[in-house]
Amino acid sequence: MNALVKEPMIVWIDVGAVTDIPRRGARRVPGPAGDIAIFRTGDGQVFALRDACPHKGGPLSQGIVHGASVTCPLHGRVIDLATGEAMGADRGSGCAPVVPLEVREGRLFLGVARG
C-alpha cells in the first residue's frame, strides 16, 4: 500500500446494547453531523439511518416502526429502514443516508469514517 495515500479509516464505536432499543422502536445517537437514529424492528433486526426524513427533515427516530420500515412523525412518509429510501407513492423522492452499523455479541457499533 502506498503510505502517502491516507486511507479513510472506519472506527467502530460501541453505542449500547441491542436491547436498549425497544422493539418496534428507535433511539437517537447525537453526533457532530447531526443525530443518528438506530431502529429495532419487531423481529429484532437493527438498522441505522441519519435521523432526518428526506422530505422535510423530520426525526425518523420518533416515528412508528412497522415491519422493516418507519413512518415519519411529521408528514407520514414511510421509509425503508434497510435503504433509507421513501416507499410507496413517494419512492424515488430521496433517501435518509444509511449509517454503518454492526452487532457484536449483542452490542451496537456505529461505523464512523475518520482520517
Binding site: V11, I13, D14, V15, G16, T19, D20, I21, P22, R23, R24, G25, R27, R28, V29, P30, G31, P32, A33, D35, I36, I38, T41, G42, D43, G44, Q45, K56, G57, G58, P59, Q62, G63, I64, V65, H66, G67, A68, T71, P73, L74, G76, V78, D80, L81, A82, T83, L108, L110, V112, A113, R114
Partner: protein
C-alpha cells in the same frame, strides 16, 4: 500399508456421524478410537426433550449401540474425559493417564450450557438442560411434584418447560425478550406459541430479567425478578444458550474465536486436527442445531478419505419445536428488509399463521405456526433458490395447491376444478354445492352465498375463490362487493367489525386481534396499530397494557412534536383558570430552559414551544412542582374545556359555567378517545366560550343546560346540534360523560365526534342518551375507565418511567472528531 490412526474426541452426535461418514466412504482406511466423557453409548441428544416429557425412552434415542462400535472395530473409551492434546507429539491424553497417538484428530466436544452468574446459582436444584443426567435430575424433581421455573424462552427452554409440565409440575418460563423464541419467530407466531403453551400448562413471563435465585437450606426455593416479583420453585432450569467448548483446543494452541476456528474443510489451525459440530466456528458462525452437524460431517468424510476439494460453505437453518400438538417451523429470514415481501395467511379457526418472506422472487424464509406441513417444501425452495414469481399467488397455500395450479390462470383453474373440489375448508363446502346454490337460488352476492352455503363464512380465506365462482356463473352480472371500509390495507375488516369482535371474543392484545381477524401483514402498520391499541384500551380498561410503540410520537412522549423536532408543552389549566403562582412557575420554566416561544392557545392554555426532547422531563418536574399536570394537548383524548366567567362575574351569566367546566375537566381528563375531544361551556347564549363549535358544548340558560354535540372548527367548520337539555349540573355532567363514552365505544379511530355523528345519526345517539338506564350504564363505564386514566403522564416520567424515550442511546459520538 498400515492403517492411519483416527481419534475422535466426543462420542456425541457429531463425533459418531463423522465416523459413519468416513466408514461409508472407506471402511478400511483408519483405525478408529473414540473418547466420550459421558459413560454411555452414542444417543440422539436432540431427542432428550421427548425423553423428558415421557414420550420416548432412552433406548429409543440410542443411535449406535455397543455392537456397532465392536462391529466396525472402533475402540470406545467411554466415560473417559480427554484432558490434553499434545499437537507436537500427536497424542491425546485421558484423565486416567491413557495416551493414544493419532494421525488425524477430530474434535467433536460440543458445547457447554451457559450458566447465568446469578446469586444462588450454586444452590441444589439449579440445573441446565444438556445431557441425560440433566433429564434424569428433572424427572426426579418432577416425580416429587411442585413448581419449576425455566429461565430462557428459546427452543430448549420451552421444551424443558413442556416436559416438566407433562410430568405434572407447574412450569413457568422466564424470558428476557418480549417474544418467545425471538430468534426464530416473529411476534404473531410468538403470540400463538405462548397461547398454545399456556393451554398445555406452561406459564410464560416475558420481558422479565432474573435478579437472584432464592434458597432455603441449600436448596432452590424461588427466582426473584428485577421488577421485584418472586416466582417460587422447587427446580430451576437454566436454558439460556450454549458456549462452544474450546478448552482443550485452546490449551493445544489452536486458533480460537467463539469456537474452534475451522476452514471450509473443517480443518483447524493444525492441519492434522479437525473440528465439527457445536465446538466449531466456521466463517464466524458457531451453530447450535443438528442440521449443520450433518453438513459438516459430510464434508469431513470427504476430506478424510481423499476428496480434499470438498468444501463446507455454511448451513441454512430450520427450526422445529418438539412440543406435541404444537406445530412450529422457522427457517431463514423471517423478517422483511430491503426488497423483501411478506405473504401472510392466517386461519383463526384452526389457529394457523403462516408467513413466507420472498426476496427477489425467491423464498428467503418462512415462519409457520399451527400447520407446518409445508415447512420442508419452503425450506427446499429456499435452499434451491428457485424462482417462485409464477406461483406467488398460491405459494402460501402450500405445495399441494401450488403444484396443482402451477401455470394455470386462476380463473381457468377454478373453472377446471371438479365439482367435488373442496373450496371452503372451514365448513367443508365443495365447488358443486356453491355453483349449484348460485344457479338454483339465483344468488348474486358473496353475502348470499355465505348465507346459503356457509362457504367463506368462517375464516374467509376462500373468499377470492368463491368470488371467482360467482363471476364464472354470472359473467358480467357479478360485481365484486364493496364492504365497509377496512381499517387499513392490512385487513379486510372494518372498524365496527373489529371493535365488536374484540369485545365478543375477549381479544386482549394486538397479536390476538391480528390472528382472530386474519390480518394479512405480520405486525400491522402505522395506521392499524394505533387504532387497535386504542380499541383495546377502551374495551379493557385497567386490564390492557398500553403498547407505547403503537402510539404516535406525541402520545408516546406526551408533548407535541414541532417541525424542527423540538416539542411544545402545554400544562393543564382547569377550565382555563390559572393563578399567579402557576404563571410565575411557567415564567420560571421558560427562563430556566430558555424556551423560545410562549403562546396563548385557542383553548385557553399556555403553550411553551421549542422545548428540546432531552429537557422534557425536567420541564415537567418544575411544572409538577407548581401543581400543574399534563394538558394532553397532544392526545387523541380530552384536551381542553373552554369556559367563560359565567354567573360568578358576568352580568349576563345564568349558571356557573366556569365551575361546570372545571368540574368536567377534573373528571374527564386523561381519557383516551378515538380523536381529540374539546369541550366548551358558555354561561349564556351569547356563547363567549364558543361552545357551539366544540365536540361537545354546553350553553347555560336560566332553566338549565343545553348539551350540544358535533361541532368542528378546523378543516371543516360546523356548528353543533343540540342533543338534549337538562335541568341540573349533575345531570349535565352525567350526560356529557355518557355521550363521550358512547363515542369512545363506537367511534372509529381518528374519527371526530361530528363525523361519528354523521355516520350513526344524531337520533341514534339521542335515543341512547335519553334512555335513563342506558345513560347510567354508559356513565358507569366511563367512570370505571377513568379510575385508570386520571394519572399524570408527566409525573410518571419525571419519576423515571420510560427514561429511554428521553435520553439519547449514547453520547459517545459527540466526542468523535470527524
Amino acid at each position: 500399508m498400515s492403517k492411519q490412526r483416527l481419534v475422535v474426541i466426543g462420542n456425541g452426535m457429531a463425533g459418531c456421524r463423522a465416523i459413519e461418514e468416513v466408514l461409508a466412504r472407506d471402511p478400511d482406511r483408519y483405525e478408529i478410537a473414540v473418547f466420550g466423557a459421558e459413560p454411555r453409548v452414542n444417543y440422539n441428544r436432540i431427542m432428550l426433550s421427548p425423553v423428558l416429557s415421557g414420550e420416548k425412552t432412552f433406548d429409543e434415542i440410542v443411535i449406535n449401540d455397543l455392537a456397532w462400535y465392536a462391529g466396525h472395530g472402533i475402540t470406545l473409551h467411554s466415560g473417559k474425559a480427554v484432558v490434553k492434546i499434545d499437537a507436537d507429539q500427536r497424542l491425546v491424553e485421558a484423565e486416567d493417564g491413557l495416551k493414544v497417538p493419532y494421525d488425524k484428530l477430530i474434535l467433536a466436544v460440543g458445547s457447554d450450557p451457559v450458566r447465568l452468574p446469578l446469586p444462588g446459582a450454586e444452590l441444589s436444584g439449579v440445573i441446565t438442560f444438556r445431557d441425560l443426567d440433566d433429564v434424569e435430575a428433572m424427572v426426579a424433581a418432577a416425580d416429587a411434584g411442585g413448581e419449576a421455573v425455566v429461565i430462557g424462552g428459546g427452543l430448549l427452554g420451552l421444551e424443558a418447560a413442556y416436559g416438566l409440565a407433562r410430568r405434572g409440575m407447574k412450569a413457568t418460563v422466564i424470558h428476557l425478550m418480549d417474544v418467545l423464541m425471538e430468534r426464530q419467530l416473529d411476534e404473531s407466531a410468538g403470540f400463538l406459541l405462548r397461547r398454545a403453551l399456556e393451554e398445555r400448562g406452561v406459564e410464560t413471563i416475558l420481558g422479565a430479567q432474573s435478579d437472584a435465585i432464592l434458597g432455603t437450606g441449600g436448596r432452590v426455593a424461588g427466582l426473584q425478578l428485577k421488577d421485584g416479583r418472586t416466582i417460587p420453585c422447587d427446580l430451576l432450569v437454566m436454558a439460556v444458550g450454549i458456549r462452544p467448548n474450546t478448552r482443550l483446543a485452546a490449551a493445544a494452541g489452536l486458533a480460537i474465536g467463539r469456537g474452534v476456528v475451522v476452514d471450509d474443510q473443517m480443518r483447524t489451525s493444525d492441519p492434522a486436527i479437525f473440528a465439527i459440530g457445536e465446538c466449531a466456528e466456521h466463517r464466524g458462525v458457531a451453530y447450535g442445531l443438528v442440521a449443520p452437524i450433518w453438513d459438516m460431517c459430510r464434508t469431513l468424510g470427504d476430506v478424510l478419505t481423499g476428496r480434499t476439494e470438498s468444501a463446507y460453505e455454511g448451513s441454512l437453518l430450520q427450526t422445529r419445536l418438539k412440543v406435541s400438538g404444537v406445530d412450529v417451523f422457522s427457517a431463514g429470514k423471517f423478517s422483511g428488509g430491503e426488497g423483501c415481501e411478506d405473504v401472510v395467511f392466517r386461519d383463526a379457526g384452526r389457529g394457523v399463521y403462516k408467513r413466507v418472506v420472498i426476496e427477489d422472487g425467491r423464498v428467503a424464509g418462512a415462519v409457520l405456526f399451527g400447520d407446518a406441513a409445508d415447512g420442508g417444501w419452503y425450506f427446499d425452495l429456499m435452499r434451491s433458490g428457485a424462482d417462485v414469481s409464477d406461483v406467488r399467488e398460491t405459494l402460501i397455500f402450500g405445495q399441494a395447491v401450488t403444484e396443482a395450479l402451477r401455470g394455470v390462470d386462476p380463473r381457468r383453474a377454478v373453472a377446471a376444478m371438479p365439482d367435488s373440489q373442496e373450496i371452503c375448508g372451514c365448513n367443508g363446502v365443495c365447488k358443486g354445492a356453491i355453483t349449484g346454490a348460485i344457479a338454483d337460488k339465483g344468488l348474486t352476492t358473496l353475502e348470499a352465498v355465505r348465507a346459503h352455503t356457509k362457504a367463506s363464512a368462517s375464516c374467509g380465506s376462500c373468499t377470492p375463490l368463491v368470488e371467482q365462482l360467482l363471476a364464472l356463473s354470472l359473467g358480467e352480472a357479478f360485481e365484486v362487493q364493496t364492504g365497509p371500509k377496512p381499517v387499513c390495507g392490512c385487513t379486510r375488516h372494518g372498524h365496527d367489525e373489529t371493535r365488536k369482535r374484540i369485545v365478543a371474543e375477549g381479544l386482549k392484545s394486538i397479536p390476538a386481534i391480528m390472528q382472530a381477524l386474519e390480518w394479512t401483514t405480520p405486525e400491522g402498520c402505522a395506521s392499524c396499530r394505533p387504532a387497535l391499541n386504542y380499541y383495546l384500551l377502551c374495551a379493557w380498561p385497567g386490564d390492557y397494557q398500553d403498547d407505547k410503540q403503537s402510539r404516535f410520537v406525541n402520545e408516546r412522549v406526551h408533548a407535541n412534536i414541532q417541525k424542527d423536532g423540538t416539542y411544545s408543552v402545554v400544562p393543564r389549566m382547569w377550565g382555563g383558570v390559572t393563578s399567579a403562582a402557576e404563571l410565575r412557575a411557567i415564567a420560571d420554566v421558560v427562563d430556566k430552559f430558555a424556551i423560545p416561544t410562549v403562546k396563548v392557545t385557542g383553548g385557553q392554555r399556555i403553550d411553551l414551544l421549542g422545548v428540546r426532547k432531552d429537557d422534557l422531563p425536567a420541564v415537567w418536574a418544575d411544572l409538577n412542582a407548581a401543581g400543574m399536570v399534563s394538558g394532553h394537548a397532544y392526545a387523541k383524548g380530552l384536551r381542553t374545556v373552554k369556559t367563560c366567567v359565567g354567573s360568578e362575574w358576568c352580568r349576563f351569566g345564568t349558571q356557573d359555567s366556569t365551575g361546570l367546566g372545571v368540574r368536567l375537566e377534573k373528571f374527564m381528563w386523561g381519557s383516551w378517545t378515538p380523536a381529540k375531544v374539546k369541550l366548551g361551556v358558555s354561561g349564556c347564549p351569547r356563547n363567549c366560550a364558543e361552545a357551539t363549535c366544540k365536540d361537545i358544548g354546553v350553553i347555560c340558560v336560566d332553566s338549565g343546560y343545553e348539551i350540544h354535540v358535533g361541532g368542528a372548527a378546523g378543516l371543516h367548520i360546523q356548528g353543533t346540534e343540540i342533543l338534549t337539555k337538562v335541568a341540573g349540573e349533575d345531570e349535565a355532567v352525567w350526560t356529557i360523560c355518557a355521550v363521550t363514552q358512547l363515542y369512545r365505544e363506537e367511534g372509529w379511530y381518528l374519527e371526530r365526534i361530528y363525523k361519528w355523528m354523521a355516520r350513526v345519526g344524531l337520533e341514534s345517539i339521542r335515543a341512547r342518551i335519553e334512555d335513563p338506564d342506558e345513560r347510567r350504564a354508559l356513565y358507569d363505564r366511563f367512570a370505571y375507565s377513568q379510575r385508570f386514566s386520571r394519572i399524570d403522564p408527566w409525573a410518571e416520567r419525571v419519576a423515571g418511567r420510560h427514561a429511554e424515550e428521553f435520553n439519547p442511546l449514547s453520547r459517545r459520538l459527540e466526542f468523535v472528531q470527524p
